[in-house]
């Protein structure tokens, strides 16, 4: 809990500090990305390829969406992104297809799988940065970094600000409420849960709930059914189709939460990673979990 509070405080602090900066021309500077590489971004980029759904959303949020010339097949939000050319997968991307879009900035997901692509793009003299936006703290950090790189520092600051305030506000409102113990279902075979390493777990905290698998450090750990029964969650979160299946399945009904029909629908496919919508999503989650306290 303290770690999350620290992240949120940092968020607010970062925006305050950024506000105190002297206003200068848009910074074309060196950026140190999540691979630990330092990249020089000469001028504000006008042809951006973003190979990660979360960074794509962030770019639109800070007003740089119009400069996108490439995205992955999984980028769906906002709707306008469908007009941007689909360059394939975000992991081990097709470097040739990316180069064919003649970008002056490429944003990769900082996974080991993409080291090779980063190297090749830089060898082709295309400024490439790799970021991992997995936790709420990453959202603030990367949004501000992207803002500096694209020259949209003000918009980035506003975005981070707004989301930070929403999250902080929601946390305050839920602090005094009883926290239900929640199991967030991810996948059936193998049985996967949202673990402590996922920003969804952070969102649960903000929304005033306890993730029964918060103690596991992975974002989507594999668990056994029996272990789940042992942890005895109060509420299960799942998609609508999964909920229907669970309520009818005798195995799932060994869970008290399923027997009591406390299976709530919250579609995780909407929230791929902590984008600018993470604030609104946290509020939605809090409303779902505490309908009385958050009545509209």
């Amino acid at each position: 809990m303290s770690r999350l509070t620290a992240s949120l405080s940092l968020l607010v602090l970062a925006s305050v500090l950024a506000a105190c900066e002297r206003r200068t021309a848009p910074m074309h500077d060196t950026a140190t990305d999540d691979f630990g590489d330092t990249v020089v971004v000469a001028t504000a980029p006008v042809r951006i390829v973003s190979l990660n759904p979360t960074t794509t959303e962030l770019l639109y949020a800070i007003g740089a969406g119009a400069r996108l010339v490439g995205r992955t097949s999984y980028d769906r939000i906002p709707a306008a992104v469908s007009a941007v050319p689909d360059l394939g997968p975000g992991l081990r991307p097709n470097v040739e297809a990316v180069l064919a879009a003649r970008p002056d900035l490429v944003i990769l997901y900082a996974s080991e799988d993409n080291r090779d692509a980063a190297r090749r793009l830089r060898a082709a003299r295309v400024p490439t940065v790799a970021y991992k936006v997995d936790r709420i703290a990453d959202f603030a950090r990367v949004t501000l970094a992207l803002g500096r790189i694209t020259g949209d520092t003000a918009a980035a600051r506003v975005t981070v600000d707004t989301v930070g305030r929403t999250l902080a506000g929601t946390l305050v409102r839920t602090a005094a409420l009883p926290h239900p113990r929640v199991f967030w279902f991810l996948w059936e075979s193998p049985l996967l849960a949202v673990g402590g390493g996922s920003f969804l777990s952070e969102m649960l905290k903000v929304a005033g709930a306890l993730n029964v698998y918060d103690s596991l450090p992975e974002p989507s750990p594999s668990i056994t059914f029996e272990d789940l029964v042992r942890r005895d969650p109060d509420i299960v979160l799942a998609s609508a189709t999964t909920r229907a299946r669970m309520l009818a399945d005798p195995r799932w009904r060994t869970l008290r939460a399923v027997r009591e029909r406390r299976v709530l629908v919250f579609d995780t496919t909407i929230v791929n990673g902590p984008s600018a919508r993470v604030g609104a999503s946290a509020v939605a989650l809090a409303t779902l979990l505490h309908p009385d306290a958050f009545a509209p």
Partner: protein, 323 residues
């Protein structure tokens, strides 16, 4: 096989089942387990024992029985102690069916059904290819046809997974590594009937397999319809295996290893080898599933990984025996 050895195998199976139901992530004393089974315990205990552990242990036992019996019969009929139930392209076909289903978005019971269909399709294709090559009665041609079909299936799996989403790949891989985690009473009932019929057919053919094991020409001279008996063993074995694959994915090495162990205890006729292998296979898979559940909590290891580990000492021992 002597009565003492039968007793030993049956005892091993019973012990394994008891251990499987007693142990698990939720710590329960044997008395709590018993009460859970009988129905006079806390609802959570009853649920865990009756809905989670018992069907799972029984499913594992049935999978082991099917694979053990199929492996024993196939080793006898092909006169090859390295034969195993996933011959004839069964594993490739099953995996292909399941992977394609997962890639197309299927979830739940559709995936095992697709695996089952894939397994049967592969066997049918293998026999057709063998017939086209002119040698349905020749074991080597049929086995080779199985290799061809298996190779095709593997290629198809790779293509299906190449462009697929990470979750699809994970789901497909999980299925291919085998697991009894999805056990339900419905699955147990279905598989029980299936395995019973399959093993019964193999036991009926057992004596013919004894004769067939002497050599195809010799068996022909002793009145065995070599082509028909071999085909019967292949089909019954493949059906049994396809059923276990639908229930628990790919669980390797059981069908290969268990008949050897049974023969080592002195079983000579295929009637005892096949029945012994069914019982011993059941015990083995129940134990492997138990290990899968408790080795690395709260995560679950894939069943096929545990049984694959068993393959290592087996092949080492076989190697030593050859030299």
């Amino acid at each position: 096989m002597t009565n003492a050895r039968w007793l030993l195998i049956v005892l091993a199976l019973v012990t394994a089942i008891v251990a499987g139901v007693t142990a698990g992530t939720l710590p329960l004393t044997p008395s709590e387990v018993l009460h859970g089974l009988l129905g006079n315990a806390a609802p959570m205990h009853i649920a865990v024992v009756r809905e989670l552990r018992l069907p799972r242990v029984l499913l594992a036992a049935l999978v082991g029985a099917g694979l053990g019996a199929a492996g024993a019969a196939l080793q006898g009929a092909t006169r090859n102690v390295l034969a195993e139930p996933y011959l004839l392209g069964v594993s490739g076909g099953a995996a292909m069916g399941a992977v394609i289903a997962v890639a197309l978005g299927a979830r739940g019971p559709l995936v095992p059904l697709a695996g089952f269909a894939g397994a049967l399709g592969a066997v049918a294709l293998t026999l057709l290819v063998a017939r086209a090559a002119g040698g349905r009665g020749d074991a080597r041609i049929v086995l080779m046809a199985g290799v061809v079909v298996g190779a095709f299936a593997n290629a198809a799996i790779m293509v299906a997974l190449a462009g697929a989403d990470a979750s699809v790949v994970r789901g497909a891989l999980w299925w291919m590594m085998g697991s009894a985690a999805d056990a339900s009473w419905m699955a147990v009932r279905g598989l029980a009937l299936y395995v019973a019929v399959g093993i019964a057919i193999l036991l009926v053919l057992a004596r013919a397999i004894d004769v067939l094991a002497l050599g195809e020409d010799t068996a022909a001279g002793m009145g065995v319809d070599v082509a028909r008996v071999t085909l019967g063993v292949y089909v019954a074995g493949a059906l049994l295996t396809a059923g276990t694959v639908a229930a628990a994915g790919l669980v390797g090495f059981v069908g290969l290893l268990v008949p050897h162990l049974v023969r080592m205890t002195g079983a000579r006729t295929h009637r005892s080898i096949i029945s012994g292998a069914a019982l011993a296979g059941a015990a083995l898979v129940v134990v492997a599933d138990l290990m899968a559940r408790v080795a690395h909590p709260p995560a679950e290891l894939p069943l096929g990984a545990i049984t694959a580990l068993l393959g290592v000492p087996f092949f080492l021992a076989h190697l030593r025996r050859l030299t």
